[in-house]
């Protein structure tokens, strides 16, 4: 095993059947002149995702079956904690998140525990409409109130965390739908973690299709209400307030 104090940054990419883009995204991150290690969490893919990711230079965490994004992220965070990474950032495997923005999002950690790369923050031209838009607006409003800092894109999967964020995430286990974003964020804020956002542009996905079906969007609205309502009543995580070095714990 490696040393338990690690000054590199772990880029966690949950990937489920992302063979058509994971290789390119990993290579793009590793091409940057930055101290990044890439961990692709292979969430039970049945295509060539793990091989392509490994070929591109990523470490591949092979989950034996599909756990969903929340589960994949928890596995990634656990790995980060075991190996003593002090900063992690989640990046989508589909190439939506521009790897050149990683540094900007990480810089947000200087003043916060969680830093979110946000769409809609007066940068880029990402748009949604219908129930999905209302849901996002509502969630953003509630989370902004809760965090006492403007948050415009709480479902963004482009977020960075420090050791406190990692410890809190592992304590809370958000495995449900939207658990990796809304639920984890609400409980993190209520547990005393500081959240900030950094405006970023989103690129069109390099593979796969986004869902814009109205029924799916309505279901999304319902489920996000559900996730929010539960998150607001959940038990807080017990994370020590001064910045602890959780490295090597467990």
């Amino acid at each position: 095993m490696r040393n338990l104090e690690n000054n590199r940054v772990l880029v966690i990419m949950p990937a489920w059947n992302e063979a058509d883009c994971v290789g390119a995204t990993v290579a793009e991150v590793l091409r940057l002149d930055e101290p990044y290690d890439v961990l692709v969490v292979n969430d039970g893919s049945t295509d060539g995702t793990p091989q392509l990711a490994a070929a591109a230079g990523a470490t591949v965490l092979n989950l034996p079956f599909n756990l969903g994004v929340g589960g994949a992220m928890r596995a990634g965070f656990k790995y980060a904690q075991r190996l003593g990474y002090r900063q992690v950032i989640q990046v989508d495997a589909d190439g939506q998140h521009d790897p050149r923005n990683i540094r900007e999002v990480l810089n947000g950690l200087e003043s916060a525990d969680i830093s979110i790369g946000a769409r809609f923050a007066d940068r880029g031209d990402y748009t949604v409409k219908g129930p999905r838009k209302w849901a996002m607006k509502l969630l953003a409003g509630v989370l902004t109130k809760l965090a006492k800092t403007p948050l415009t894109d709480v479902t963004s999967g482009f977020r960075a965390g420090n050791t406190r964020a990692i410890a809190q995430y592992l304590d809370h286990y958000p495995a449900e739908y939207l658990g990796d974003t809304i639920d984890s964020l609400v409980v993190a804020i209520r547990s005393g973690l500081k959240v900030t956002q950094v405006p970023v542009e989103m690129r069109p996905r390099q593979g796969g299709t986004p869902s814009h079906h109205p029924i799916k969007a309505a279901v999304y609205l319902g489920r996000s209400f559900f996730a929010l309502a539960f998150a607001l009543t959940r038990k807080r995580s017990n994370v020590a307030l001064p910045l602890p070095l959780m490295a090597g714990k467990n």
Partner: protein, 129 residues
């Protein structure tokens, strides 16, 4: 007037649960519900007038309705208990899956190091075995 059929049915249920427990096919925490039901049915089959008495005491006009409501509540309880248990099991499975995945990476790394004969900690892109 004891109800012979109901009595033997209840006896069969209690016997079955006891046998499953004995063979370790059923854990005690699940069996307890069925034992309670079986024994209650046994008692009721032996002394049916007990049901009329209890129904009157709690203000249920038709004794059989009391029996139905109790059965429904009991089945609901069992269902909830099982849902709860399966959630716990699922959570444990998830944790194990994560653990296995992390251990696998570490074993692959150790293998690589042993094959290459180089000291641990050297940075190498992972190679699928």
């Amino acid at each position: 007037m004891p109800n012979i059929a109901a009595f033997f049915l209840a006896l069969a249920i209690v016997g079955l649960v006891a046998e499953m427990l004995r063979r370790k096919k059923l854990r005690e925490k699940y069996a307890i519900w069925w034992l309670v039901v079986g024994i209650a049915t046994l008692v009721l089959a032996a002394f049916p007038q007990l049901l009329d008495y209890v129904a009157q005491a709690v203000g249920v006009q038709l004794p059989s309705n009391l029996l139905f409501i109790l059965s429904i509540l009991m089945l609901l309880g069992v269902c909830l208990h099982l849902s709860w248990e399966i959630s716990v099991v699922e959570e444990e499975t998830r944790a194990l899956a994560e653990e296995v995945a992390i251990l696998r990476i570490q074993i692959e790394r150790i293998n690589e190091v042993m094959v290459a004969g180089r000291p641990a900690g050297s940075k190498d892109p992972e190679v699928e075995p």
